[in-house]
């Protein structure tokens, strides 16, 4: 691969654009393709079609063609995790999720919590959760986790999350807290199918005690939802 091709590929990734790298294995010829592209110079039409189909699914695979074998390497933007509540558990969860390949955003209007020295290298929003989540344009590759326990912060976040195709919505709190939360959602007009999208108590049941252990259980549940497509 030429360094110029790699630079353009990395620029796409940094701008969170989906891109497929198509390499002809016989001679190393490489080209980039983006969703919506009709053609790429030097790439046969049927390889372009196959690359765009693979890119839409985020798949990487070889493609045999008369002229030789092409390898299609799809790069799609990292999944996102939006954490509402810059609390102690959030500090562990943000760091672990980042290591697991998520783009993490922490949302908390309480500026004493949402400080960059508590979340080094993590994107922070101090807007109110309803507004913050609307601006983040939650998509089907976004997970939302609320950790504040405070209805005036968690509830607007859940409203925004339920109005989106987010693949995972989880809310920290005991069974009792969760029941009360579901009752409030029902009184705001959310149907049962909506309310059932919220995982509560949040996380896999592994007997977690410390903030870091709870973060492990939440991250494991989020990854399970991402990889199984159970959303």
């Amino acid at each position: 691969m030429k360094a110029g091709t790699l630079d353009r590929l990395l620029a796409d990734r940094r701008a969170k654009r989906s891109v497929a790298l198509v390499t002809r294995l016989e001679d190393g010829f490489a080209a980039l393709l983006h969703p919506g592209d009709r053609a790429a110079e030097g790439v046969p039409r049927e390889v372009v079609v196959e690359a765009l189909r693979a890119l839409a699914k985020g798949q990487s695979l070889p493609f045999e063609q008369d002229e030789g074998t092409y390898f299609i390497r799809s790069f799609i933007p990292d999944p996102r995790m939006v954490i509402v509540g810059a609390v102690h558990i959030a500090q562990s969860l943000a760091e672990m999720a980042r290591l697991a390949g998520f783009h993490v955003v922490v949302v908390d209007p309480r500026q004493a919590f949402a400080r960059s020295d508590r979340f080094v290298g993590i994107e922070i929003s101090t807007d109110w959760p309803g507004q913050a989540l609307e601006e983040l344009e939650l998509d089907r590759r976004t997970a939302v986790v609320t950790l504040t326990h405070d209805p005036k912060l968690d509830d607007p976040a859940l409203d925004a999350a339920l109005a989106s195709p987010a693949f995972y919505i989880g809310s920290l709190g005991s069974k009792k807290t969760h029941r009360a939360r579901l009752e409030r959602l029902a009184s705001r007009g959310f149907a049962e199918a909506d309310r059932e999208r919220i995982r509560g108590p949040v996380g896999l049941s592994i007997g977690s005690v410390t903030p870091a252990e709870i973060a492990v259980s939440i991250l494991a549940e989020v990854i399970g939802a991402l990889r199984s497509g159970s959303s």
């Binding site: 360094a3 990734r13 798949q59 790069f75 999944p79 390949g101």
Partner: protein, 111 residues
């Protein structure tokens, strides 16, 4: 949802670009095909520099050493190679996949 995706691969390529900008010779190894229970899916990448430093992976640690050795030749000559590892490979006595899987790797120089 997306079993084939390896999010960390992008960061591995950032490392390759950084080494190249520092004037270091760089090779990129990409898993192109797997058979059986190979640990890393197609698209997984390992980047290697002329000093033998590497980032990423193309297996569970079983064949990285062999790929790093091959990379030295690829960086020197600029000729890309297709490598095949598996239980039937003649290198299996020394280097192979304990899981019994097979993997094909495209190894090229960043030029």
């Amino acid at each position: 949802m997306d079993k084939q995706t390896t999010p960390e691969a992008g960061d591995v390529l950032e490392q390759a670009a950084d080494w190249h900008k520092e004037g270091e010779g760089v090779a990129i190894a990409t898993v192109t095909k797997t058979w059986g229970s190979s640990p890393r899916p197609p698209g997984s990448q390992l980047v290697i520099n002329a000093k033998g430093e590497f980032r990423g992976s193309v297996s569970g640690g079983c064949i990285e050493g062999a790929v790093v050795s091959e990379a030295a030749g690829v960086i020197e000559t600029g000729e890309s190679r297709i490598l095949h590892f598996g239980v039937t490979n003649e290198m299996a006595w020394e280097v192979g996949l304990a899981c019994g899987g097979e993997v094909e790797i495209y190894l090229e120089k960043l030029s």
